[in-house]
Amino acid sequence: MTTEWQMVIGLEVHCELKTATKLFCGCPNVFGDEPNTNVCPNCLGLPGSLPVLNQQAVELAMAIGTALHCEIRPSTFHRKNYFYPDQAKDYQISQYDEPINVNGHLDLPDGFRVGIERAHMEEDTGKTSHAGASGRIHGADYSLVDYNRSGVPLVEIVSDPDMRTADQARAYVTELRAILVASGASDGKMEEGSMRVDANVSVRRTVDDPFGTRCEIKNLNSVRSLGRAIEYEAGRQIALIESGERVIQQTRHWDEGAGRTEALRSKEDAYDYRYFLEPDLVPLVPDAEWIRAVGDTLGMMPAARRSRLAALLDDAGGMTDAQRDQVTTVVDLGLDDLVVVAVAAGVGSGLALARTANEAATDADAARVLDPKSYVELLTLEAQGSLSATQAKSVLADLLAAGGGDPAAIARDKGFEAMSEDSLADTVAQAVADNPDEWSRFCEGDDKLAGFFTGLVMKATKGQANGKAVAAELRRLRG
């Protein structure tokens, strides 16, 4: 493989919108309910049923467009005609040549700009499950269809083919997910299928060559799979070309277990979707005032959120590389408000960031709905030395599990009564007395032994002592 090979990557991301109801009917939009319980004449495609557009879905689509710097335009819905058992009407209502959002962009954290061709609305299909040993479509004896997802609102975000590395593709999906979460449009859960990524991959020998023939990879369920699949597929295409063969334009399926892409077997070799304007729906013509109103409700986007945290750390003397990663994690998980609130209440930015990125992040769903007041109180107790780091983490776990509470009370219940200065001094003195050799070496300047004594004190207090307070007491005794 020669070094000058270059990948060209464009991504299509389907994102389920966080609405209460489906795109064209009033059935609940929820994940995981009993099969075929969230269905009505419309989403079952019953004769005589008609679609009526969900205003909230439109506004979330507009919010996505705003967040991606798109032009928000008058738009229409088309029918995409194809037979498939998960498609209740045997056509999908989707925006075709007049999508609501066009010509936007997304800036990756390193500043690389990816163009957004369009972000349009469409409806989801039902879900098929396959009876048979493999559980997959091939080799199944028959299949079963659940229409609960039929008609769930989607926005399909189509990037320009601007990305050149798998890392950029990963960064794009990560950043896009953060934007979708921040805009309130989606919960961004790839594992529940609320964000689905298809990658268009081609390769070319040099940057000056025209784009090569591309393949579309489906079934990318995580950012990790996305990166692996792109690397594999680019390698496959390069190997083909280098062995004198041609890349055939096709849709390929990522097999996570096997770690490779496979051509999809499709019954019909060519689809003819016969797109035409959906006669049951009327055009959507958002005026400037509506677009502005939706934009006004839009929260702060991840890039701005990262800058905001960076500024707090800059006030405290700048960011380490580890902290830069923590900032990204906290923003991606939508937990940055916790840091901001804590710092405003006087907690050090380093501590607030670390607790949020390391501990709160372990249960981000709970942390997002945690009462910020309890969180601030907890960090304040830790900053003051009333709770040790270990104790603070333990209390935080309880707070997350309960959705809030009084940290001081929880600490008391756990027996984390902050140690009085006297009893701490007694414990330190005891440790010194029990280890005269180590003490004299410490007094002679062997600072490493501070750790030895702190460890003893921690052991004696079952971790309840505050490390900083122990160090201060040791220094005081040394004089």
């Binding site: 059935c27 004449p41 009526v52 205003q55 058992p85 079963l144 659940d146 499709s266 003819d272 729906l281």
Partner: protein, 102 residues
């Protein structure tokens, strides 16, 4: 506007497959003749020069029809599944699916 080529037997076989209809040889001949006749009649439309005329898909110009994002009652599952030709495990049962969704 130039007129499209005349409808062939192969065209009819192709659209029948797209529309999930099976035609016998005799039916293919019959429908090819009948559909070609209708399309020949439509030549008056197909041959007109209407460049610049905006197509009308909706006779009445209405825009921005939406509903609030409020749940409405769903159908009773037993009633829904009771209408289905084949059901298993509260789902609609279909024979083997040969290809992935497009």
């Amino acid at each position: 506007m130039t007129e499209p080529a005349r409808l062939t037997r192969e065209d009819v076989a192709h659209v029948a497959a797209l529309a999930r209809l099976h035609l016998s040889d005799e039916e293919l001949d019959l429908y090819t003749g009948q559909l070609a006749q209708v399309l020949d009649h439509a030549a008056d439309v197909a041959s007109l020069d209407l460049a610049g005329v905006v197509p009308t898909a909706h006779a009445m110009a209405v825009t921005n029809v939406m509903r609030l994002d409020e749940p409405r009652p769903c159908l009773d599952r037993d009633e829904v599944l009771g209408q289905a030709p084949s059901v298993e495990d509260h789902r609609f049962r279909v024979p083997r699916i040969l290809g992935e969704a497009p």
